[in-house]
């Protein structure tokens, strides 16, 4: 039994303490917006905010986050300025990587209100996108500042 705080609510989850957070979110809490991409923190598809910092949830044991504040894509309710800007710029094709990209962008903007284009690109270098939506995403984030 582990207790975690996700999107402002506390949850008690029945799982082994070394279970990666990703599977707890997706399968226990039914929050499937956080997506599996690689299982080793190399692609960013599973990023969530841990105390405001964008981190991979696929190799993060749930015991290590029990006293931390976790925000998933669902916690933004589709209303975050980054999400609205992505819609305006039609900044996706398949969209599978987008949850992780949104979390990276939200973390960046919370630390720096007006990042430059280069700073945005560097911040998103941990997120892989295969469809080639990079430039639309960067324009959207510039627009969301």
């Amino acid at each position: 039994m582990t207790e975690i705080e996700v999107n402002g609510a506390r949850h008690r989850v029945e799982c082994a303490p070394d279970t990666p957070l990703l599977y707890v979110l997706r399968n226990e809490l039914r929050l499937p917006g956080t997506r599996f991409g690689c299982g080793s923190g190399q692609c960013g598809a599973c990023f969530v905010l841990i105390d405001g910092k964008a981190m991979a949830s696929c190799d993060l044991p749930v015991w290590s986050v029990k006293d931390r504040s976790i925000t998933t894509i669902e916690g933004l309710n589709g209303e975050h300025p980054v999400q609205k800007a992505l819609e305006r710029h039609q900044a996706a094709q398949c969209g599978y990587c987008m949850s992780g990209i949104v979390m990276s962008a939200v973390a960046l903007l919370s630390h720096k209100a007006k990042p430059s284009e280069d700073e945005i690109r560097t911040a998103l270098d941990k997120n892989l996108c295969r469809c080639g939506s990079h430039n639309r995403v960067v324009k959207a984030i510039l627009d969301a500042r």
Binding site: G33, I73, G78, L124, L128, R130, R136
Partner: protein, 660 residues
Amino acid sequence: MLAEKPGALSDARRLTQRVHFERDGTVSIASGKVELGQGILTAFAQIAAEELGVPLERIRMLPASTAHSPDEGVTSGSQSISEGGKALRKACAEMRALLERSGRKSYWELELDAEIPGDAPEKKPAEYRVVGTSAPRRDLPAKFAGKPSYVHDMVLPGMLHGRVVRPSHGFSRLKTLGEIQGVTVVRDGSFVGVLAEREEDAIAAAAKLRAKSTWEQGAPVPQDIHTWLKEHVAERNISKEVVDAQARALGTRQLRAAYTKPYICHASIGPSCAIAQWHDRRLEVWTHSQGIFGLRQDLTKVLRMDERDIVVHHVEGAGCYGHNGADDVALDAALLARAAADRPVRLQWMREDEFAWEPYGGAMAFELEAGLSSDGRIVSWRHQFWSNGHTHRPGRAPKPVMTAAAHLAEPFELWPAVNPALPAGGADRNAIPAYDFPDLLVVNNYVKDMPLRSSSLRSLGAFGNVFAIESFMDECAAAAGVEPIPFRLKHLKDPRGRAVLEALLAQWSAWKRPEGRGHGVAYARYKNIGAYCAVLAEVEVTHELRVTRLVAAVDVGLPVNPDGVANQVEGGCIQAASWALKESYRPGNVGWEDYPILRFSEVPRVEVLLSTNEFPSMGAGECTMGPSAAAIANALSDALGVRVRDLPLTPERIAAAINA
């Protein structure tokens, strides 16, 4: 099931299969083509709204299923707009004509006759109000909000989690299977998987079982695949031959060059996933396959079942860019679900499964030769290439082609990949040059044996052929002392092809050459029958090659959704740049560290110059691939004065070219 060819509408049943007026005032549209992230369902909704004269927001696109959708084959080859869109437009035009003839006020009052004349006039492009506008993608808000959007996100009651147990290399058979507690181990010959109540348990068990098991290595993959291909030709096929000895004799200089492309991964960000559930002796599958009917056909062969007993539903997945692991994982899930009684089984491949077992875009070798006349024209042209077939999709071969089929206790022989017929072609896609060369020979050396299983990757053989042809065109232009765009125009008659090249002339001429930089151009008409595309690349060379800017001039006929076209073109340019700069699959690559792709700080700026005209609409997703790669290689050559003829254009290869 009804089988329907595009454009063929003979009775009301087929019409209502496509277009159905719901009681809530919406219109349900069934299409056999599927959403792959390319925005096709938004474009189809626009076509339906336009032709019916119904507001766009009332149109609902039904997910494709073998249970109710028209069989429109595979969603591939940039044909959804030209074929699926055409069939849908026709169906909607018939429906509108029925309404007009009936004297009723609305579709919802319409009683359908059994006979449809099938000759209803379609709207003229000048009348279009919805087609030709950049309607926002209907699926994106949910995806940006993280709502359940993919087959990966589906949850069915009582669902079990499965994982497969395969090594990260080819094998001939499973030698020893380890033991594991707490999960159900499923084995059929050398096919092994596990089932667990919890996903993390299935993952951990599969990893442990893999470590405890041994496999007999398969045949080694040749170190030098391109030499190997040349030594293993099964058939020498002439794609095109035009003999003009008189023209050929005008050649005063002969140029020759050889090029290669490696195996390239589809490398979807989301590893492939499927859900399978048996209902007694019937099977239901949820998949992101590009061809649900072909998948069903191959499932019937492997599972020795009747088509009537299998239903395959399409649910979106991560972008696939061709034939990735989608079909393979669907069979894997069906095999695992056989051990799950009637419970559904969700199986997602792990990242290493996808890298190790997806069907790659095949390696190719090319040799080109041109005769140049004294007035700087190409008078003779030889192009031959060596390659496996470029499609290994289910439903096309006499034997099932999914990975697990070859591993079962009663295995199916792995059928070789084949090539679709010209003009689209497979390995020979875009091998016949678009230019006016009087004496011409194009030879497709088909290699049947497959050291690695390969299948359709975005643009098939066109990527390599256009890279080789357009690199060689620049080499010929340099030998003739003519600038690249005028040199191409000198050999190109097609006015729409000329127009996309001419659209880049101003930017080409405005270029100022800073130190260590270069620019290059390339052109192709996709499949020689599809979209026209010319790309201008600007690069910077320091310790490595960096693409700073790509400009794509594109003519897709009348764009159904101009921003959707631009999005596909931008994405195609960036993916092609990634292939050209970084990508080459080698056995043993299991993660993104082994197989890097372009990242945010590395991608070029992309500008799209979209022609607007009223020619029939064509797909946009693949036309940029070859021209982008060739333009980048040409820009590299422009920057350094040396040519790299092997993809990818790595720092090692660039250094070797400089030192040669």
